[in-house]
Symmetry: C2
Subunit: 386 residues, 2 copies
């Protein structure tokens, strides 16, 4: 395993009605809030009303930036920065899923930059300072509620790129599983795949001597498999929602990558796909992951894939490669059990754009650490996934 | 699962030579340090010399409190408080294992109290404020390097009691696995049992719907079993030491108890034993744990014990109670593989003192949450463990 520094600074407030303590949390930092949210589901399910009344009662003033879409746009980030500057806001409260939180993070650091916020993403500008961020989570998926990453799309350049910095970690995140009862079956499925993909990306890493880290990741994979299909049939089950919500935060809060690099190829490839076609991140991951697995299975000894098969799916047998292949089939079956398609052509991707997407995915050079992939490799994966 | 608040504030600096960055960490808080350590092994293995030269180079002044023993005494705490007051020290650096760290924590809060520090432990005084603490860990065992707990012994009253508070969590902990190469076989074995016991205490908890938490705990148990005996034969193996060191911190940093109460009976019983007989904590736990298991196995349905057997020891079969019994035998075998005795009489405990110890363990009322135990129950467990 590699050396590492680790600190899970985000304060997690987990449970029903934890929102009631939010004023105290915000007041540690601010009294002037930019409230960021999506297309208004928090108004239909009552979270907005409850939050506004708590803020008013506690004399916490706020301005709103609403309408943040999935695959949040840099244009929304620019809007948020302008609002913070005009109204002199000093805290950002994101109410939503990963898209809203990611947008909040880009605003938080963008406020302190004289350059355009897209410059952070194309590495022309450095993150130095950021406003404090708080989160009320309404979707279990990205883990953005407990880390410093942000992924933003730029429609002008057809790019979807990420940044990461410790100062972008939320100060607190309220995780109330009942807020996810109204998440649609489709979105719930995408969320489970997103969590699962984060686990795989960190699991398939080239370092040796990571027994502990790998067993931890497998635990969380088993949690996704145990509850994934269940939550689709019983969306109001608190236990199912709670377990997946906690899994989403633990899967990408830095814990599992302690001592490891992680691979992240599948994410790079998916970001290239959803930069061109506005498909849900989890959907793209569900399609690409098994083909990435098939492509890299032969690249090394099959030990890691065999571990995956034996420990996550309880596969039996001596032949590592056979277990590896079987584990990939099990992965496909798991995604299928969530009702998800398995081909890019099923979600509107055109075959002629695969080359463009392969180039986008490898824009900054080859990707992956478990198995290094260049543009050609990515093209081959996209072709089989097509 | 229960509601919870969780934040792993302690900054973990993990890897070889991480000590080189310590001056920057200390200077965030202080320039006047109380250096707390044990009986001098840090002088023979070179850590003391390296640390002193770093502190001197960086103009960080310090005074020393050395000679802290296993089962640290309240008298040492009083000494440390006096040193902090006389020399106006504002940071405590603990270099050692759990005993040294626990002592540092009690000093940290004791400095701010007008009462005797033992009053914290007998609940006559409340922790309000504490000096910041840093840790250089030299023994993988208690997890004290990443939590706010402290256990201190009072020889006058023959008591061993604990306190816990968020402000006692170390600001940083340096985990350099190579510092544990020189830990004796015996101490290493005690450490593994201590880690394993923390996992069991949090695993056997009455809440339902804790699939994720239970799988995480099992992962860490498997890590202890995988590396426990190995580290005794190859004490200088970096991977073995690193995996156990990281396991020790993760096993008691609050993560595994998110959403659970934990049982902690075995710890209460062991503390009563080692308050009277000065035996190592890990040794006491190794003896008592299987007898606690046998005593409580019948108390509920055997589901949790069956999970434990199936998931940790890969036991097969349909009969939960049989798997549970087999799992207890496997637990005994694991401790035996670490070269540890299995009876209280083997470590000098006298039969006549069992009643006294049972009373001590239940001094504040019945103990345990998985299965509530009163004085009689504890006496029965001690008798079978004798």
């Amino acid at each position: 395993m590699l050396d590492f520094d680790y600190q899970a600074e985000t304060r997690i407030l987990f449970g029903k009605d934890k929102i009631k303590g939010i004023a105290g949390e915000i007041k540690k930092y601010s009294a002037r809030v930019l409230l960021v949210y999506g297309k208004g589901s928090i108004k239909t399910n009552g979270i907005h009303q409850e939050l506004v009344s708590i803020l008013n009662e506690n004399k916490i003033s706020f301005n709103e930036l609403s309408g943040i879409e999935p695959n949040p746009k840099i244009s929304s980030v620019r809007q948020g920065i302008a609002l913070c500057r005009v109204h002199e806001l000093d805290f950002i409260l994101a109410v939503g899923g990963g898209s809203v939180i990611d947008c909040a993070k880009a605003i938080a650091c963008g406020v302190y930059s004289e350059k355009d916020p897209w410059d952070f993403f194309i590495k022309k500008s450095e993150i130095i300072k950021a406003l404090p961020i708080g989160v009320i989570l309404t979707l279990s998926a990205t883990g953005s509620e407990s880390n410093g990453f942000s992924v933003i799309s730029n429609k002008d350049t057809e790019e979807k790129l990420g940044i990461g910095h410790d100062i972008l970690k939320p100060k607190f995140s309220i995780l109330d599983p009942s807020y996810t009862f109204t998440v649609s079956s489709k979105q719930s499925a995408y969320g489970v795949v997103d969590i699962y993909s984060h686990l795989l990306e960190q699991y398939f890493s080239p370092e040796k001597g990571t027994f502990l880290q790998d067993r931890l990741a497998e635990s969380l994979m088993k949690t996704c498999i145990h509850y994934g299909a269940k939550v689709l049939t019983k969306p109001n089950n608190y236990e199912f929602r709670a377990q997946l919500m906690w899994a989403s935060s633990l899967s990408l809060n830095g814990l599992l990558s302690c001592g490891k690099t992680g691979d992240w190829s599948t994410h790079f490839i998916e970001h290239a796909v959803s930069a061109v076609y506005d498909i849900a991140h989890g959907l793209g991951l569900a399609i690409i992951t098994p083909y990435w697995m098939e492509y890299v299975l032969g690249a090394k000894d099959s030990g890691k894939f065999a571990d995956y098969g034996r420990n996550v799916f309880s596969l039996q047998g001596q032949d590592d490669a056979a277990i590896g292949r079987d584990a990939i089939e099990q992965t496909k079956a798991f995604f299928k059990s969530l009702g998800l398609p398995s081909r890019l052509k099923d979600v509107g991707v055109e075959e002629g754009s695969l080359g463009q997407m392969a180039k986008k995915a490898t824009k900054f050079g080859s990707i992956g650490s478990y198995s290094k992939l260049d543009t050609n490799d990515v093209y081959e994966i996209l072709k089989t996934a097509y």
